[in-house]
Symmetry: D2
Subunit: 344 residues, 4 copies
């Protein structure tokens, strides 16, 4: 049995641990041969790969990023055709591969799903810091991103309180507000603004003023994809905000001066950016990723192709791709309602 | 509605966040009155308590320990009698309480269960760093303990490698090896020794020697309750080890010289101790605890008494006490087998 | 002896520890009365202050920010006049104060110096995350800021390597590049761009390309006050960059697209922002701050007014204000030359 | 110019950064050849070494321990003889080395000093987590050890407060109490017990009781070399404590039951152990170590042999070995007196 491993999309803490888990299980226990393509599909197309064995994955668990590299190079030019799939399977044959492990998020698992439909042996490992992938309770990388964002809140809180300023922290999440929701809950933010639930500027300012009236300084977490009610393009980076004014930076940079102007409370913005996807994964993500890799190797041994290693409670289960792709896992209204009642 | 909150047993990171969640929901949203007993049942017996409202729980989420204090003072002298229960319900009446929220582990939730059987309105919030409570995927405090233990492994790894020493790290877990299993997996330990699965000294030394033969330095994580095969009392602190020799410190202090003697590899032990239960909770534990508190307050509002706020996947569910108490959640053989194949 | 404590300027990790050190020494050991003005000169003008004693400063050492609050409200309207000083000394009398402890950076210690010249009893405690204050080896707050920036580099490094991107991190430092220099050195950045030493875009891009040619991904740390050679206003936030193009965000946001355009290497920017001034101080800063507070209290006892508690080697020494104010401590050419030789 | 690098004694965070600094400067800038002996003098004796160049030291700055390995193997059998020195210089010739960089603490720099007296070209880089080396303000590794110990205090504080227990934390320091002093000051410990200053059990218990009487829970930091007044052998590990009772573990394990017995306050001990010397160095230590390495390479270029790269204020200076060796830098009475006044 010879298996190819490939990462696609943005990096996510835990990818190294996942590969290490798959290799320790697949090569050492099950006796597979495994290779890893460099920079995802880029290495697949160009024939650049490394042999994976125990020494290759030594010490990888605590390391952020992914040692194989990852990229957004696609497996084929869209839309996918029978020829594209045929070309890909010929390459698999040329590499002598019996199957693929694909580590990625929504886009990658959609590819996995298409490949599986065309009879390619593929098993998926879900990763995304955004946690917007269905078919699994959590994706590895998410817990690390939330931890870093919560730590940023802890830090901003002290400087905000010292100056009696409102602090606005922008975290990742274009379509799903999971990082903002969990980090805000962990850090005790006075409001979390999510892409799924637009709010009016009046409402946001009312919450900020209410915090001030209680003698505190407000800390607002905003997902990059949040839109003010009545505004369409808050997250576009075309130089204008949702009200046609010149924009600087992200949605937090837009929101802060608006809040300051309306409430009279000095307000500062911070865009957390790429630091939230980097660095050593949390123990939670390392364990989740390692177990996902082990489960993927076991699925290969069992010939249980066409599935993704999802987290269900405290178990890793192989779930059909149809449970995972074609939908975005967004924050449900119940979770937002739960926290919104205590905003301000 | 007037509710008493009470913590019992060892402290666990997230207890403050749980109380904060319950109060923000219970007092601010549902309009309850809430009081918290100081030092658990000790304060209940002595009439020492504080009113709980939004200012009282301000800024608590990132703080370790529990501001109310906790103790091992029992609610009654065992064995429980009808008189004991009657005495307790009279006190509840005297405090004007309609119900209790009990934050604790196995012992506490067993008490909750007994109270519920006797018609006392009680809702349970599960906490223990040991994660050995059934009825919930994870208990808050566990993720923080695992994080601290994994960080200790990362640190010991570098000094072990620099000196080509075997390092033995003892973590908590008298009856269940969850912390050792997860921290060892996160840190890439070469063996995790759990209370549930005795191993022989020969086997342990074979793993250590095997690591040396691969050119590395072994790192072993051992739960305090681990017993060498053929030894009964490894965890007793009576001054003798399982082989009748004088004991110094914990099981790691016993194991290290035995490993060194048999393998000839310099071996050092570290007993992590109380640091693994203290300090600021991880974001995961803060979120889990906060949501548990919210769910407990909602259960009170709904009159859904006699249950515990358990984690099931990504949801908090109210589970009957019968699902949680009377059994210890230990590491199942499948989880141990999964990692044992790669030991050494 | 009755002493007033007052913080001015931006908050800096360690301010709480400094006040705690001064109070434990001043009140408990020397028997002073001490009061702390809320929000700096704002509280002084408005008569808002708190009594400082042991319970007030309990547990403050690990906490970021400053519990008294700080502000940029000045002691008087510039330029200072004899009347302004007289008004201030009358207020001191009204408060019954024998002297002031002023915690602040360049601006504040200049005020200290002016007050001292006019016969007001004042002792200075130097703080600034920028480390640009003369008369002391390091100011408290700097080590924490460097630590947070170095941690950000560690995190960005892994995501940069995974995607073979050039990462540009902007840290604080309008006039002095100390944070960029030390964080960059700690994190192994391939270039540190400082306000003191303009470089051309060609040179910066040559370094980035050189890193790529060695098979790595470049990480550049840039202080917010860095200017490209031949550009005057890189740090202004007027919406235009140094070349007249619309600006988004900070200097890193300007630099990244220019690097990408010239080198063809995908480049991403991160502006660290307010997180680098917040959060729990490092042990180094807590010790430095505590010792500064102790030394300030001892200076008061000794009547050693008109000086600032500076760090000299491993000792705290009282230095005349004339050694500290009227000059900005910038990165000397020798320190920059030391690292520049290994850029790229 | 061909230079050998060698580490000796216990590992200390920053050793990797020091070697990286020396190599980037020595090889890349000054054009030296450099080799590193594996496991210190062990590799020197056995002819085991690696070539050091830029790729070899890539990414080393954030890593704890030392990639070359270190050991306590001595350069010669004591006492040193002319023959021993002659043998060593012959080996240097055989390796083609023009000089040595020796990275170590008191013992190693004493060796450096002897070698220098015998005309061997040697430059010293001081490292020890204990900070007990003269001729430098601080040694790299110390700041990291203090940070880890202070973090442990922060964690123990929360669990101690929750249970109203006295917590006793043992940190490293056989002869010098620097770690205990600085970590205790950073963490706000109620007493720091140092090897240099014996205290009676009565006095220690009086402090603990006093803390209880103020309504708090005491946290005591004790250096492993602390001796109770009137006791000689507190730190010996012969199974008996200073009063002839069976000993378990370190001095903290001895002290805790004595405190509990006398004060009636539940008391728990933690021996921090090897974790305090491992893990990623602080930014402070990385910068100090890198600069030490650069200065050592510059000293080689200048032929400035026979000296050690010491920290003096914010500068690295080459100091004669006579300033560093033959004395232990212990905590001076003034520093202890400063804190002792606020104990309890």
């Amino acid at each position: 049995m010879r298996i190819g491993v490939l990462c696609s999309g943005g990096d996510s803490p835990g990818m190294n641990a996942a590969i290490r888990g798959a290799v320790l299980r697949g090569v050492d226990v099950h006796g597979f041969e495994m290779i890893g393509f460099v920079d995802g599909w880029r290495g697949f197309h160009d024939g650049e790969f490394v042999e994976l064995d125990r020494p290759t994955v030594r010490g990888l668990s605590p390391l952020g990023g992914v040692f194989l590299g990852t990229s957004r190079v696609p497996p084929w030019e869209a839309p996918v055709t029978a020829e594209a799939i045929a070309g890909l399977t010929q390459k698999l044959d040329a590499y002598g591969l019996d199957g693929l492990m694909l580590i990625g998020g929504n886009g990658t698992q959609t590819v996995s799903s298409i490949l599986a439909e065309h009879g390619v042996n593929v098993v998926g490992l879900p990763k995304t810091i955004d946690n917007d992938l269905a078919g699994t309770d959590y994706t590895f990388g998410f817990d690390t991103a939330v931890s870093i964002a919560a730590e940023a809140i802890d830090r901003l809180r002290t400087t905000g309180d010292s100056h009696r300023r409102c602090m606005v922290l922008e975290v990742m999440g274009r379509d799903a507000g999971w990082i903002a929701l969990h980090a805000g809950m962990a850090g005790g933010a006075q409001a979390m603004l999510l892409p799924e639930f637009p709010e009016s500027l009046e409402q946001v300012c009312a919450w900020v003023a209410n915090v001030r009236d209680r003698g505190r300084s407000a800390l607002i977490v905003v997902a990059e994809g949040f839109k003010l009610e009545g505004s369409d393009d808050a997250v576009t980076r075309d130089g204008l905000d949702g009200f046609g004014r010149p924009r600087l930076g992200g949605v937090a940079d837009m929101l802060a001066p608006l809040i300051e102007e309306r409430t009279g409370i000095e307000t500062r913005s911070t865009v957390l950016g790429h630091v939230q996807r980097g660095g050593s994964p949390t123990a939670f993500d390392r364990v989740l990723a390692t177990r996902s890799g082990i489960a993927a190797a076991d699925a290969v041994l069992a010939g249980d192709w066409g599935k993704m290693a999802g987290l269900r409670g405290d178990r890793i289960e192989l779930v059909p791709f149809s449970d995972a792709v074609g939908k975005l896992k967004t924050v449900p209204e119940s979770r937002y309602a739960e926290v919104r009642l205590n905003f301000g």
